[in-house]
Amino acid sequence: MNNPSDMAPAWLSCPECEAPVRDRPLPKKAELRCTRCGMRVKADRGIHSLQPAWAFATAGLFMALLANVEPIMTFDVAGDTQSNHIVSGVIELAKQGYGPVAALVCFAGVVAPVLHLAAIWYVSSACCLRRRWPGVRRVSAVVEMLEPWNLVPVYAIATVVAVVKLDMMGTVDWKAGALWILVLSLCSLCAAQAFDRELVEERLEVLK
């Protein structure tokens, strides 16, 4: 299976505008672009393994656990100290009567990143171990769906802004959780980058 294009159909559908694009074997590092909208249809990105994606997803899942368990920062005003978790913001918003906003924060800050990493983990481990695990294709679609919702990097920026604002009111101290959030955002960015969709398709095709 060195040359998968031997088996692929002669026409591909552009993922963006669905125009038909004639398939051809690609030289190294070359890419095939849609003639209508200019979107990349197929590329030889030089990645021939899903192991990096698997590794980043595994690391990311551990980081997600740590980031949610350890406090991000402690805030101190006149002797009153309070430590802060990702979840405490969600709970506090819900308590103040902003349920929908709390749900949005919970989804984009906790649920979606974990599900996104778990889905990448599931698909890439199935591909790496060459196992025909149930529902791999559906999980692979979930990865695509959840990608714009994995907002941990945005959360990291918000943490920095929050620390600056709180600094005007009292004493703020970074805690380990902030570091885990930073590492988690790097892991999810790398995992999403290393998760090559065409490679997954190719591997799943072989497993079938």
Partner: protein, 163 residues
């Protein structure tokens, strides 16, 4: 879902987003209590406060992420939807949609910020942060523009003729 239903949903979402954009920026998103003084803060007010404190790089990030990005997003989505079915500018519309899609989520900074700040709301009368209704509208603008981009499938840019 049929394409014309998708188009209608996308249009409805953009219009809702534009309507919600006004209260989202006029109403305060939170009140900060600092040593007894209660201070309601709008999104822009928060940016101003950062700026006056000398943190202009952060102020710029927040200003871009929570005011400029949602505005540009609504404007470009309206233009893309307005041009639906017309044969001009299709390539440009496609790349604009892609840009909107990739920068759109950055406006979540303010919602996350609200959540982090609200978590310290229990420090008695001396200091605290309370969420205010502006947050609702702000989150509403965000969800509406995300859903509009989701409903309007990129392949629909390439359809010509009446929807």
């Amino acid at each position: 879902m049929t394409d014309s239903a998708r188009l209608q949903w996308a249009q409805a979402m953009v219009v809702t987003g534009i309507v919600l954009y006004i209260p989202a920026n006029v109403l305060p998103v939170m009140t900060m209590t600092v040593v007894g003084t209660v201070e309601p803060l709008t999104v822009l007010g928060g940016v101003e406060e950062l700026y006056h404190d000398g943190r202009w790089p952060l102020a710029a990030v927040v200003f871009l992420a929570s005011i400029v990005v949602p505005f540009l997003k609504l404007v470009s989505l309206s233009w893309i939807l307005f041009m639906h079915g017309k044969p001009q500018w299709q390539r440009q519309r496609g790349s604009l949609r892609r840009i909107v899609h990739s920068i759109g989520s950055w406006s979540m900074v303010d919602v996350f910020l609200l959540a982090i700040l609200a978590a310290v709301g229990q420090l008695g009368a001396l200091a605290g942060v309370k969420a205010e209704p502006g947050g609702f509208f702000f989150a509403g603008v965000l969800v509406c523009s995300l859903l509009a981009a989701e409903f309007y499938n990129p392949r629909m840019i390439w359809q010509t003729g009446p929807a």
